[in-house]
Symmetry: C2
Subunit: 291 residues, 2 copies
Amino acid sequence: MNHYDTFTRRDIIAGAALTAALAAAGPARAHGAPAGSVKTIDPAVDRWRGLKASVASYTLRTMPLDRAIQAIRRVGLHYVSIKDSHCPLDSSAEARKEVVEKFKAAGITPLSCGVVSMRNDEGEIRKAFEYARDLGLPTIVASPDPGALPILDRMTAEFNIRIAIHNHGPEDRKFPSPNEVWKAVQGHDPRVGLCIDVGHTARAGVDPSACMRRYRDRLFDCHFKDISAISQRGNTVEGGRGVLDMRAMLQALLDIRYAGLLSFEYEKDAMDPIPGLAETIGYSKGLLAGR
Amino acid sequence: MNHYDTFTRRDIIAGAALTAALAAAGPARAHGAPAGSVKTIDPAVDRWRGLKASVASYTLRTMPLDRAIQAIRRVGLHYVSIKDSHCPLDSSAEARKEVVEKFKAAGITPLSCGVVSMRNDEGEIRKAFEYARDLGLPTIVASPDPGALPILDRMTAEFNIRIAIHNHGPEDRKFPSPNEVWKAVQGHDPRVGLCIDVGHTARAGVDPSACMRRYRDRLFDCHFKDISAISQRGNTVEGGRGVLDMRAMLQALLDIRYAGLLSFEYEKDAMDPIPGLAETIGYSKGLLAGR
């Protein structure tokens, strides 16, 4: 049976001639398409446009280290901000070295840790800086006692490690938004700066993009996410399903040539966070590529 | 101890006055932000811009129906193209009704099925149309024997159900690209048309966006994905990690006011497809929102 019996005879002859000509030209030119006719994206182009997309490993807090590393590989990122669930604050220097080696073996570079709570206690704060030093981290994301800022001045100078003070929304009496952090760090060592948590910032009624631009000189880290509502009850949701203008935030980060981590922090679905994390990462990358 | 001992007295007084004034204005105006200062996205806006984003349930082929439904809910979509793994082709009308009811109870509307292979056999093809009719589907995605097109003319007329002929890449001797499908459907019932599989189209050396525009009049369904390379060996990868210009394809679909399904088909990771599917969906939504 002739499968092409609904074609005219002329179609069949023309088609056969075309097929023969294209077959001679090789597989890339098969099926009526001139070579190179498929418009493609160069895989070598960085779709993050220079932003250091990372996972805040708090997202993976219910997983042991090895599974957390697999999860970061799964979502295709190459940086991490280490939460103490994946390297305890009281770990030995040897254990810390092993953690870093495991990340690096998986193609993942740790560039910050946290959020680390810091009381106004020099011995305790020194331990946090030693932890970051042993992990080779340039930045500690921290929630310090505001009275500890003079200690932070001394420690950032001694260790040459930056502190990025994390704002935690309207419930945070110390640092609800980046505005309070910015105010607090004035007059302190320039290595004492901000980690803008975009969700908590918006929940506090403050625009995250505006803060990124305003506080660019001391913006060292960023917790990136979407949230369900601009209110105290707003919760993290999959990127693109909430109310935050993630496009405007990414644009702000590009405009200020932000060099710190863009840390995806997906608090929802603690026992099974990878799908929501992946969707958030995909959405953000799409926003950048859609510009 | 005064936690704010690094502030000047004037800062403290000014801050206290501001805090009091803003507290009186309510929580939305806390922390130095005027009401409504957070630039948000209206959650009522359709970020798919009218496109009917769906899951081609072939993606979830290793899952029983209930888990597949949960997975579609998890990735936030509301349409499905049903693969026979979730409703066998030889199922009873009663069983088919139950499948549709389960999807609808979960907020998911089935709008096509497939890919259904069709030999040049009227009895067999009739069964496929009865299957689609029982499932309430307006479209069957099919891979028919080209000789069966006259039968498809009769069946589409009798059932008023469309056939979207799926192209399957360079290995497909019948329909490698939409070009061959378009050619085959000329002179047939206008309800006999195309499902463009963008991955297989590109692997065949043909530009998917150009086909969408060129064949818009008979474009009834679409299998949407990214692939690793424009070659026979190109495989599905997470959206945004491959070489396809997904932005250009989405733009083409918007431009032609495409009304069929945008079916995400993620062939990779058969045993654990949700993260890659979620990343692909997020990326595509981000591309649309980033425009």
